[in-house]
Symmetry: C2
Subunit: 149 residues, 2 copies
């Protein structure tokens, strides 16, 4: 299978990864969540090559995850912001953070944790079903394949 075919796969995991599943894309999205909007700043912070960054920004814009806004004229300069579709990636980012803090501990004396903006206390993210409030686990939830053929 070629990577380009993933975008039209019936499986949503494959379709998600066709947009954000390469080595750099979620790091670019992370920078956007941190409020970084400009090319040079992202490039320096990430250590990504300019070529690849330009390519990823194009892809993310095409996918509707980022919006490219001119913030000045003469010369025209653009910055990148998350769209609503991009902001909807927050649970993915939070889940990655939660998993990594458990599973891939930082080797140095530094860490990044998620805290409440109001109280400053660490949060412990869990997934629940909005309708019932039940936790979402492999035991409570399963994937259903709907073939409308």
């Amino acid at each position: 299978m070629k990577w380009n075919d993933l975008g039209t796969d019936p499986c949503p995991v494959a379709r998600a990864l066709s947009v954000i599943g390469d080595r750099w894309t979620m790091l670019v999205v992370r920078e956007c969540f941190f409020g970084i909007r400009r090319f040079d700043q992202m490039q320096e912070r990430l250590g990504i090559t300019r070529h690849v960054l330009a390519d990823r920004l194009r892809t993310l814009e095409a996918a509707g995850v980022l919006r490219r806004d001119a913030y000045q004229e003469r010369p025209t300069r653009y910055e990148y912001r998350l769209t609503d579709r991009g902001k909807a990636l927050y649970p993915v980012l939070v889940s990655l953070i939660t998993w990594a803090n458990d599973a891939v501990p930082p080797p140095e004396q530094s860490s990044v944790t998620l805290v409440s903006r109001s109280t400053g206390t660490p949060v412990e993210p869990v997934l629940i079903d909005a309708a019932t409030g039940d936790p979402i686990t492999t035991r409570t939830v399963t994937a259903r394949f709907n073939d409308i053929s």
Copy 2:
């Protein structure tokens, strides 16, 4: 920056992606969640090349996400199962599915949704803080950098 350096990055997003952030890995993990355990079956279902699959399985085993078990002798054959650390990736998978079903609609008449095992009704996954029950959004939660220097 090189990819190999990500595993020791202070940012948990980078560390998570150093393990599961390449083009195929989360699809391999998805297969494991679907109960697929064997090399040939994964290879055929995913359309991944055998070379890359072998490499990803090695990497995931080294990261403690999968366990390699012999299921027969003469000749020895191995199968792969999720460890607890691997199962802890479920929220990431669920978040990806939820996002893709919203953001990257399937072009054909087929879909995959998450349903309750007990009632069969679709679930609507949301992240909350286990301690307070508050929803986790960009407005309620922020990242804190703790430098224990």
